[in-house]
């Protein structure tokens, strides 16, 4: 079985990090696309949370060593290399678009929560209204950051993801702090830089 961690381009220098169950990392290439993988003879017995953490650490190591990394969601496996190559061929245009978008970039996550919302929503409408307020504030933040980010997404939960050039990550984090300082009605939390988890596939 082949487990896939991320896609990149060319011949990436693989990090020293080991894959799930201590397996070595390797690449499977289709044209210029490279899938970073590990190979396994048996299903993993590692605890699911720990296995997800290993997956994430591999991706973050690739972010540090490689210019363009498109993270793969945990759990993506293929029976063999032929099956993976078929999937790569079928998805090549989408992966190329995603890798082009994220080249030279990292992601900054921002969570906006209404400070005034009730601790527990008593109705569905009240719940949706609170989510709407958070999404609205996230959208305002995104509008302010638009000139210095390459792309952004706001989820229904109010969490925003910003795709930013690596050398601008500090500036974006400072801008988020400034937004928080001028909006005491919301609690703003920023995290990152991360590999660009939200900017592959359909989102690209």
């Amino acid at each position: 079985m082949i487990r896939v961690y991320a896609f990149t381009v060319g011949s990436p220098g693989l990090p020293q990090t080991l894959g799930l169950d201590g397996a070595d990392l390797d690449t499977v290439c289709f044209e210029e696309l490279a899938a970073v993988v590990s190979r396994h003879d048996a299903p993993s017995t590692t605890d699911a949370r720990e296995a997800a953490a290993v997956h994430g650490l591999v991706v973050e190591s690739l972010r540090e060593s490689t210019d363009a990394v498109l993270p793969v969601r945990y759990g993506e496996t293929f029976a063999d290399e032929a099956a993976l190559l078929d999937a790569l061929a079928a998805n090549a245009p989408r992966l190329r678009r995603g890798l082009e978008l994220v080249a030279g970039c990292v992601a900054i996550g921002v969570r906006v929560q209404s400070a005034a919302q009730p601790a527990v929503a008593t109705t569905g409408t009240e719940y949706l209204r609170a989510r709407f307020d958070e999404v609205s504030q996230s959208a305002r933040l995104a509008e302010q950051l638009a000139p210095i980010v390459r792309a952004w997404l706001v989820s229904p939960g109010g969490e925003a993801a910003f795709l930013v050039r690596r050398d601008r990550a500090t500036s974006v984090l400072a801008a988020v702090d400034a937004f928080a300082g001028t909006h005491p009605d919301v609690a703003v939390t920023s995290t990152g830089p991360w590999a660009p988890y939200s900017f592959g596939g359909e989102a690209a």
Binding site: A48, E50, A53, R73, E76, N91, G109, F132
Partner: protein, 66 residues
């Protein structure tokens, strides 16, 4: 040795954020992925749900304005 005890250990909050990203985001090639946790199958849902939620919020905004 557990990955959580390795020398490259990261802060617990960052670890939670990392696991959240790995489980909920990222490229998929094969469509929805089923992950079993404690014998319960969790099915990842895709963009369709996000679009439905935004539509619901749009209707809510219109109701509020009206």
């Amino acid at each position: 040795m557990s990955v959580l005890e390795q020398p490259q250990r990261i802060e617990p909050v960052a670890l939670v954020e990392l696991v959240d990203r790995v489980l909920n985001k990222g490229v998929t090639l094969t469509g929805d992925i089923v992950l079993s946790v404690a014998d319960v199958d969790l099915v990842y849902v895709g963009l369709r749900v996000l679009l439905a939620s935004v539509a619901t919020l749009d209707r809510l905004e219109e109701d509020t304005v009206a």
